[in-house]
């Protein structure tokens, strides 16, 4: 969890300044060069009576307007300000639903048209560092045995610049799970807000290439601006570190060896199984594949986001459901993120963005739950079971329906 790569401080080339007044020009240049530009934008006006009242409640609580990641047509549409986009960045790589191929039958002939896997170039400006870090984590499962050409194609075609985060609220806990408010994992560059604009540091060759191709838009950074950026980033790290501190390795092993522990087995009591946590999560990546008949003799195979929080996710054709209730489903979500994934891929399937906690209208709170598990994991066991973690734990979990949750 303390791997320096995870917090990604490496910077390629010297930091440059993107003056505030050059943002519009940079976006225009990129679009003129045939690049699709995306980033956080102000969400549309709420429509529902509940959303209107909720916006008033949010204002009362001192929160700003909602943000959404979108493709933009002008720099002015980008909202490079504090605020957590409601859905994570993953939708730009794994859309809510997408065609895998379409088919058409003509007599005995079946014609199959695959979805294109080499999209055009795209630059994302101002992504949340926790959202970009999630991309690198999900890369592992998307290339585990089977290489997901749609995901990989979009990853290769996209250059992501993150915006150093000043920490959203008390539900943020990125530093507890190996990320940071200014990490560049999964990103190609980092913007840090300073007086007059943003300091831009490339973190990959792809990021450096974008900066080099648009050199006229960037200027020199003053030492005062460097100091300002360093102070901003240091303060954010300190703030978020105070929200949660866990020993992720102990949590991993404790979950793996305490499947039936009352603490783990009763966490879903207030959960409605609405799956909002999975929809907004930057690392939840499960999908369902469906066949759609579009008419006689032609159809489409699609994949759609799915979530382990619904009963249908594990419902067998026989009618049996191994995860019969919400307690079992909620435990699965925790288990997958903090034990199964780290045991297989060596890292937690969570970047601490806090969206699941914020979006839960029933009050499930991951910060509280992880704290409780961390305390339990640090407590000395009556019988030593630590050595049972590792490989044995994977076997103890019965192996596999859980692990095959990729799709």
């Amino acid at each position: 969890m303390t791997d320096p790569a995870a917090t990604g401080r490496a910077s390629i080339g010297a930091p440059v300044l993107l003056p505030r007044e050059q943002l519009d020009g940079l976006v225009a240049d990129l679009i003129a060069a045939g690049v699709e530009v995306g980033g956080p934008t102000a969400a549309g006006e709420p429509q529902s009576p509940a959303a209107l009242a909720a916006a008033a409640d949010a204002a009362l609580a001192g929160r700003g307007g909602a943000l959404d990641y979108r493709v933009v047509t002008a720099g002015a549409d980008l909202a490079l300000r504090p605020g957590m986009p409601r859905l994570s960045l993953k939708g730009l790589y794994l859309p809510q639903n997408e065609a895998l191929f379409s088919w058409r039958q003509r007599g005995a002939q079946i014609e199959i048209t695959s979805a294109p896997t080499a999209p055009g170039p795209r630059v994302v400006l101002g992504a949340k560092p926790c959202d970009a870090a999630a991309l690198a984590i999900v890369d592992q499962v998307m290339n585990w045995g089977y290489e997901d050409a749609l995901w990989n194609g979009r990853r290769e075609a996209t250059t992501v610049f993150t915006l150093a985060c000043g920490v959203e609220d008390e539900s943020c806990f990125c530093t507890a799970v190996g990320a940071a408010p200014d990490c560049t994992r999964g990103a190609d560059g980092l913007l840090t807000p300073v007086d007059g604009g943003w300091i831009v540091e490339a973190a990959s060759d792809k990021g450096a290439a974008v900066v080099a191709a648009h050199q006229s838009r960037f200027g020199d950074v003053s030492s005062a601006q460097l100091d300002e950026a360093a102070a901003f980033r240091r303060a954010a790290r300190q703030t978020v570190a105070a929200h949660l501190e866990i020993d992720a390795d102990s949590v991993r092993d404790w979950i793996a060896t305490h499947f039936d522990d009352p603490l783990l087995a009763a966490l879903g009591v207030r959960c409605n199984g609405c799956g909002a946590c999975a929809s907004v999560c930057p690392t939840c990546h499960c999908f369902d594949i469906v066949e759609e008949t579009d008419g006689v003799g032609h159809g489409t195979r699609r994949r759609c986001w799915d979530t382990c929080q619904t009963g249908k996710f594990t419902l067998h054709a026989s009618g049996h459901n191994p995860r019969a209730d919400q307690n079992a489903r909620f435990r699965q979500r925790l288990n997958h993120k903090f034990s199964i994934y780290p045991l297989r891929f060596g890292e937690v399937l969570c970047t601490g963005c806090g969206r699941c906690t914020r979006s839960c209208h029933a009050g499930q709170d991951l910060v509280e739950i992880l704290s409780a598990i961390d305390i339990a994991a640090r407590r000395p066991e009556p019988v030593a079971v630590a050595s049972a973690a590792g490989g044995a734990a994977t076997a103890a979990l019965g192996g596999t329906p859980d692990e095959a949750d990729e799709g």
Binding site: P49, A56, D57, L60, G268, T310, K312, A328
Partner: protein, 293 residues
């Protein structure tokens, strides 16, 4: 609140119930609480942040709550209507329930404030305006003082509906197509609904696939219309579907419109009286529609 805590303590101590479902203060405002021990009764709260309809935890789809034998649940008027709905449809047994009613003067839309605030037109949940059951009848215990009328929101739900009704039919259709186009098909609306009781929802059936799973316009329109129609004459207007909707679809407008139609056609208004016959569960010789007589 003291009344509530005392009652919960007594019920648990006397083993009259196994759990009291109410509200508590969480790290992010009010949230549902499941109190199983008498000495934990002080966790319970009731104020303007207690928006959740706890009757949803009585829905038989909640398999994990069957572990609790006898259940006491704290209900506002709108929540009591949902309990009545479950009783009417034989989804829950009255003997298993102790209903603790609270007098309610309206709630906020969102529970996530650090402490309760007085309601204003801007912050009150719009459904609370002209609530007809601010003192639930279907209860074993009724707590709290009489409350003032909930304030009027800038635009009431009925006014929003009237504005949409005035549009030409093409624009009305387009309004709903636009709203439903945002749906991500998470089914949060269904999951949280106290009265979505189907063991197997039509959206989960794949042989045949009645409703497309994908969140494209065709699938979204089919799902949202089926959901609304299946709740016509059953919906209690608790607003939980709309509150849980992650993309802000105005589901309360659709639900309320159907309530208006049911009232107009069948003279039926949903109440917290479980004995009141429902339009779908009732047969009358003087029915206005000929085909059924």
């Amino acid at each position: 609140v003291n009344e509530l805590r005392e009652l919960a303590r007594d019920l648990l101590a006397a083993e009259k119930v196994d759990v009291v479902i109410g509200w508590e203060d969480g790290r992010r405002g009010a949230r549902p609480a499941f109190v199983t021990a008498a000495d934990e009764a002080d966790r319970l709260i009731f104020d303007t942040r207690c928006v959740h309809n706890l009757a949803t935890y009585l829905n038989p789809r909640r398999a994990h709550l069957a572990q609790f034998g006898k259940v006491a649940v704290v209900v506002k008027g709108c929540d009591a209507k949902a309990v009545a709905g479950l009783l009417r449809e034989s989804q829950v047994s009255r003997e298993r329930l102790v209903l603790i009613g609270v007098r309610c003067g309206g709630v906020l839309e969102m529970p996530d404030l650090p402490e309760a605030v007085a309601l204003s037109g801007e912050t009150v949940a719009p459904r609370c305006f002209r609530c007809d059951v601010r003192e639930p009848h279907l209860v074993d215990h009724l707590l709290g003082d009489e409350q003032p009328d909930p304030p009027r929101p800038p635009m009431t739900i009925d006014e929003r509906i009237a504005a949409i009704d005035e549009l030409p039919v093409e624009q009305r259709w387009q309004f709903w197509v636009d709203q439903f186009s945002r749906c991500v098909r998470c089914y949060a609306c269904r999951q949280v609904c106290p009265l979505c009781v189907c063991e197997r929802c039509i959206a989960d059936k794949s042989q045949p696939q009645w409703i497309d799973t994908a969140s494209h316009p065709r699938g979204n329109l089919a799902w949202n219309i089926v959901r609304a129609i299946h709740l016509a004459g059953r919906c209690v207007n608790c607003g939980e579907c709309e509150r849980f909707c992650p993309v802000g679809i105005p589901l309360s407008l659709a639900n309320r419109k159907l309530q208006q139609i049911v009232k107009q056609r069948f003279g039926y208004v949903v109440s917290d009286d479980p004995e009141a016959p429902t339009p779908i569960g009732d047969y009358r010789l003087d029915d206005s529609q000929e085909f059924i007589r």
